[in-house]
């Protein structure tokens, strides 16, 4: 499969295709390509209409665009084909996906029709579009291509550049100004004035330290031979249970379990496990409860 993938990349450059667009008659290669891609495109376009999930609809559009790009390349317009993928597939549809993901996976559109008679208007416009399209197809069925070789004489990209930056340079500038205006408008509309000074990372850190709150992560719940659940406290260095190692919600609901329920070793030698951790004052304070007897002579004792 992989080999055919890479070989596909060589199709546009193949000299076979260069002659067929010039004569107006499609060769076998182009016909095969068309009849392979056209059904895929039609199915993908129908997928846009009938897909239940918005992301599936968006992916159908992506498929149509990629197929369209391949057809462009086959018709000697490689620049258009490649830019179609970069701009529409790579940027525009990616933005669509971004918004869809932000909106949420399961959100569905509201099906309430807000415009009066929108079905009739839609049907009318659809009929008009169908008429225009069939007209275009009927007139295009019997035409002979002219001047492709002259247009692509200095490669396709140069030919396109000559037309855009030569004949249509004014229109291009106007479109550019229009787009910049739209972008600036979006910026202005979404702009919020900053009311207070921005807090930097250092200031936040300083504030947290000076507030005296806990700087480190709280201790994790205990892991025992018979339980590693979150409702059992860990033991501090002195062997006493740490209340702050149990999530606050469980503590508030009173759903924590005592270490003695899960400890493997229970006997008279481990009385501290059965003792309730009465703590020293603030039950939310971190660190272990001070030991009963001093070891180094420097640490606080109870």
């Amino acid at each position: 499969m992989s080999a055919s993938v890479v070989a596909l990349g060589s199709l546009p450059a193949a000299p076979v295709l260069a002659s067929l667009a010039e004569t107006g008659r499609t060769s076998t290669g182009e016909e095969v390509l068309f009849w392979f891609i056209a059904p895929v495109m039609v199915l993908a376009a129908l997928g846009l209409l009938f897909a239940r999930k918005t992301v599936h609809a968006a992916m159908s559009v992506v498929l149509v665009m990629v197929c369209l790009a391949i057809l462009y390349v086959a018709q000697e317009a490689p620049f258009l084909g490649v830019v179609q993928v970069i701009v529409y597939t790579g940027a525009v549809m990616m933005l669509f996906l971004f918004v869809l993901m932000l909106v949420g996976v399961d959100s569905s559109d509201s099906l309430v029709e807000t415009i009066a008679g929108q079905r009739w208007i839609g049907a009318l416009l659809g009929l008009g579009l169908a008429g225009v399209l069939s007209g275009v197809v009927l007139t295009a069925a019997d035409m002979t291509p002219v001047g492709l070789e002259a247009a692509n004489a200095d490669t396709n990209a140069v030919g396109v550049a000559r037309i855009i930056f030569g004949d249509y340079v004014f229109a291009l500038e106007v479109v550019g100004i229009l787009l910049i205006t739209a972008a600036l408008g979006a910026l202005v509309l979404t702009h919020r004035q900053r009311l207070s000074r921005r807090m930097g990372q250092k200031e936040r850190a300083d504030a947290r330290v000076s507030a005296g709150s806990v700087l480190t992560p709280l201790p994790a719940p205990g892991v025992y031979a018979r339980s590693n659940a979150m409702d059992v406290p860990a033991l501090g260095p002195d062997g006493r249970p740490l209340d702050s190692s149990i999530p606050r919600v469980l503590r508030v609901r009173g759903q924590e379990r005592a270490v003695s329920e899960v400890a493997a070793f229970q006997g008279p030698d481990a009385p501290h496990l059965t003792e309730a951790d009465e703590g020293t004052g603030d039950p939310d304070a971190t660190g272990s409860t001070p030991p009963e007897r001093s070891i180094t002579g420097e640490e606080p004792i109870r």
């Binding site: 490689p78 620049f79 970069i86 790579g90 996976v105 709280l218």
Partner: protein
């Protein structure tokens, strides 16, 4: 404007590769060769990365399987193939399976247009060492790259899980911001080379490699190429410390292996693009082309130079991974939009201006370069005269008194100001205090029943 000509007059457009001798079996050999090259390179790249990172961290790295641990990646690949293939129940089946395939598919496309060498003789047929080339092949590379990101985005979405979704969303934002900078940085190469075809860009670098005159563009490309392949410090879509594995959290076995494969092929791809566009492609380095009538720029020798440059970039990737930390997300976005893209745009304008001066006037290159140097020196000198930006004065800790009609309009309180209670509320509060004193016992009971509500102070604590 018919008088305006776009073909550079002074800059000769180099001739590209000539594929007219290719037969179908030559194309087939090259296609298979490219795929085999990519797959084996990936195996070597994994070993290379682990070994180099290990040396940077003063440990031996893989050294058990095969000589120097060379077969380690093969063993890992076998392990991945034989692992249980888990399909997530909440996943969107079709896209979930399709996503890794899209990634690999798109990553395999790019090497088709990379010139690995000049014309060589394969079984008696003279043919360029490149699968194909066309006038817009660099744009084709960008298109294939932007298509490949769909694999990551869809993989993140279709997994039906929180962390992958976050990874997917991050990936879309990353693509939109960093591909812009990447594309813009390549434009100055197009301007100087006068072409967008890879073989012509390599041919145009026979005097000087483009990374020297276009150093800013190369720097921007290098930064965005690291971002493009989701490597540290830009690995926000997978960010182990934050999102488990980001978009590939729910993938296992072969499907995970495909993502893995695509990531490493993409590393090879962007390295090859940097080599081709900025480092002379297959051209011999260090003046070696002067030896023996350019012997080292002909035949199969250039493949060696190409691979050496390619693996230099691969080494840089590993070096960066071993050195830098991950960006914070807001810094990452700010860097892309406020630094990289404006810098790339300004650089394009400068290159275009210089190129048009060369093309439409008679000023020769030396005068132009001297003039540019003077402008640069004067500009740097002037920049010292600009006074440094003063730090904004620290706002007083005491917020101003709230004036409900500041400037003559009813206004809401600013941050730090508190809204004084309305007259009606004040009256009601006075009433309530009266009642409270009357029913003190009842309130005490009510207070007791609300003690299991968490206090605000507890919420501040970070949980480990």
């Amino acid at each position: 404007m018919p008088g305006l000509t776009l073909v550079p007059t002074q800059v000769a457009v180099a001739t590209g590769a000539d594929f007219s001798n290719d037969t179908w079996w030559i194309v087939a050999i090259k296609a298979v060769g490219v795929v085999v090259f990519l797959l084996t390179s990936v195996l070597i790249a994994i070993w290379f990365e682990r070994k180099v990172v290990a040396r940077m961290q003063i440990r031996p790295g893989p050294n058990v399987h095969g000589p120097f641990g060379l077969l380690q990646s093969l063993a890992d690949a076998m392990k991945l193939l034989l692992k249980e293939d888990i399909n997530v129940k909440a996943a969107d089946k079709v896209l979930y399976l399709l996503a890794p395939m899209i990634s690999v598919f798109a990553s395999l496309l790019i090497f088709a247009v990379i010139p690995l060498g000049p014309e060589v003789s394969i079984f008696g047929v003279l043919t360029p060492l490149q699968l194909t080339d066309f006038p817009v092949s660099v744009l084709y590379i960008l298109a294939a790259a932007s298509f490949g990101v769909y694999g990551i985005v869809l993989g993140g979405w279709a997994s039906g899980s929180t962390y992958p979704l976050l990874g997917g969303v991050r990936s879309t934002a990353q693509v939109i911001s960093y591909e812009l900078a990447m594309g813009l940085s390549l434009v100055s190469v197009f301007i100087l080379a006068g072409s967008m075809s890879t073989s012509q860009i390599v041919a145009s670098q026979d005097q000087i490699w483009w990374f020297l005159p276009l150093l800013p563009a190369f720097v921007i490309y290098f930064i965005s190429m690291v971002g493009e392949v989701n490597r540290l410090p830009f690995d926000l879509p997978e960010a182990e410390g934050e999102l488990v594995s980001g978009f590939m959290t729910e993938y296992s076995s072969m499907k995970f292996a495909w993502f893995f494969l695509a990531e490493y092929i993409n590393m090879l791809n962007v390295s090859a693009i940097a080599t081709t566009l900025f480092f002379g492609g297959w051209r011999a380095p260090f003046g070696l082309h002067l030896i023996n009538d350019g012997m080292f720029n002909e035949g199969w020798w250039p493949l060696l130079w190409f691979l050496a440059k390619l693996w230099t970039f691969m080494f840089l990737f590993v070096w960066i991974r071993g050195t830098l930390l991950r960006f914070r997300y807001d810094q990452f976005m700010k860097f892309g939009w406020k630094i990289l893209i404006p810098a790339a745009l300004a650089w394009i304008v400068m290159v275009a201006a210089v190129q048009s001066v060369r093309q439409f006037t008679d000023i020769d290159l030396q005068t132009l370069l001297i003039a540019l140097g003077v402008v640069a020196v004067v500009g740097i000198g002037l920049s010292f005269l600009i006074p440094e930006k003063k730090a904004p004065p620290a706002t007083g800790s005491e917020p101003d008194e709230f004036d409900a009609f500041a400037g003559g309009y009813p206004v809401p309180p600013l941050p730090g100001q508190t809204l004084p209670p309305s007259p009606r509320r004040r009256a009601r509060m006075a009433q309530e205090t009266e009642q409270r004193t009357a029913t003190a016992v009842l309130t005490a009971e009510a207070d007791a029943s609300t003690t299991d509500q968490p206090s605000d102070g507890e919420e501040e604590e970070p949980r480990g």
